[in-house]
């Protein structure tokens, strides 16, 4: 029964306009009056190509600035220059030390709620589509139950005094 219902719903969703609105579809991409770069950037990888181009330019800019300043400045290192400057007492011993296990719980809590956030994304992105399909209230209730169950865990952590800082 579930199997039979899923397909028409997806087909219906494909007809609703806002499902595909963030990115132009293949028709827009293949429009002939556009130049090569506009065509490429309209496609799926366009966003990532833009990001990669910005990353590359940024890296070039920083590398160029650092290399240029290294080529221009005089280089005269002394032991005094590599001391920490106006940072209180000189450090003793290594920086790597053992940590309290207490911090582990915070990392664990972060992991759990990170996974929860991952499930919230497809819900939040599709809210308009869901309400167009007439399942808005249902989806809202489902998400409230989902978050509610995890809030129970947070309540447990608070009651156990895990989040208290001592």
């Amino acid at each position: 029964m579930c199997q039979s219902r899923a397909v028409p719903l997806l087909a219906l969703a494909a007809q609703t306009p806002n499902l595909y609105s963030p990115r132009p579809g293949p028709q827009a991409a293949s429009a002939s009056h556009k130049g090569f770069f506009e065509t490429v950037l309209d496609q799926y990888f366009g966003d990532y190509i833009t990001v990669a181009a910005f990353l590359g330019m940024g890296a070039l800019l920083v590398a160029g600035a650092v290399l240029a300043s290294a080529a221009l400045r005089p280089n005269n290192p002394t032991a005094v220059k590599s001391q920490s400057y106006e940072c209180g007492i000189d450090p003793v011993g290594g920086g790597w030390s053992q940590t309290q296990i207490r911090y582990y719980i915070f990392a664990l809590l972060f992991l759990i709620f990170d996974v929860e956030a991952v499930f919230i994304f497809p819900w939040a992105v599709g809210l308009e589509t869901f309400s167009d399909l007439g399942m808005g209230v249902f989806v809202l209730v489902e998400m409230v139950i989902f978050i509610g169950i995890l809030v129970l865990g947070l309540v447990y952590a608070v009651r156990k005094g895990v989040l208290r800082w001592e």
Partner: protein, 184 residues
């Protein structure tokens, strides 16, 4: 697919650019004798797998890898190292004798052959859809709330169990702590 086809497809080159550093980082994860460096190389491997997912048109999976694995699991690894291995840094006990290395290589190869063989047997002639038909996050949401509602709610119970279990394991009772004479 012949060589000319392979060369003229840009995706193949992007795949190479992503996969070769991944191989290198994966090798360094097991090769380096500094556990913190191993974790950082693991970040590189996971980032590469996220990039491969983007290349396959699975954006949501890619960003889930970034959020959960690079964001949270790596933090857990680092915390685990910081709690258990001190002082950190170079660790000679990580180097194993040759026969153990050979056994590990054999296990890794068999696992690779099994997974690769299963994938080839299952997806032999299938092609992934064009990038324009890439799975959108909305569609994932639709299938979650239409077909997989109960599993979705079960996930929250599993997460709750993990949360409580983690708290029980990682935290000592204050009464126990006083008994053990822990000074705050």
């Amino acid at each position: 697919m012949d060589v000319g086809d392979w060369v003229s497809t840009p995706q193949n080159w992007v795949f190479l650019v992503i996969a070769l550093p991944m191989l290198f980082a994966g090798f360094k994860v097991v090769q380096t004798s500094n556990v913190v460096h191993a974790v950082l190389y693991l970040v590189g491997t996971l980032g590469g797998s996220a990039a491969l997912f983007i290349l396959l048109g699975a954006e949501f999976v890619a960003w889930t890898v970034v959020l959960v694995y690079i964001g949270a699991v790596i933090v857990l690894f680092l915390f685990g190292i910081m709690i258990t291995r001190a002082p950190l840094g170079f660790d000679v006990t990580l180097s194993h004798p040759v026969r153990i290395r050979v056994a590990a290589a054999v296990v890794a190869f068999v696992l690779f052959a099994l997974v690769g063989g299963a994938m080839l047997a299952e997806f032999e002639n299938q092609t992934i859809p064009e990038a324009a038909d890439a799975t959108r996050t909305v569609e994932i949401g639709l299938s979650i709330f239409d077909r997989f509602v109960i599993p979705f709610e079960v996930v929250s119970v599993v997460l709750l169990a993990a949360l409580i279990g983690g708290i029980v394991l990682a935290r000592r009772d204050p009464a126990e702590e006083e008994e053990a004479g822990v000074v705050r």
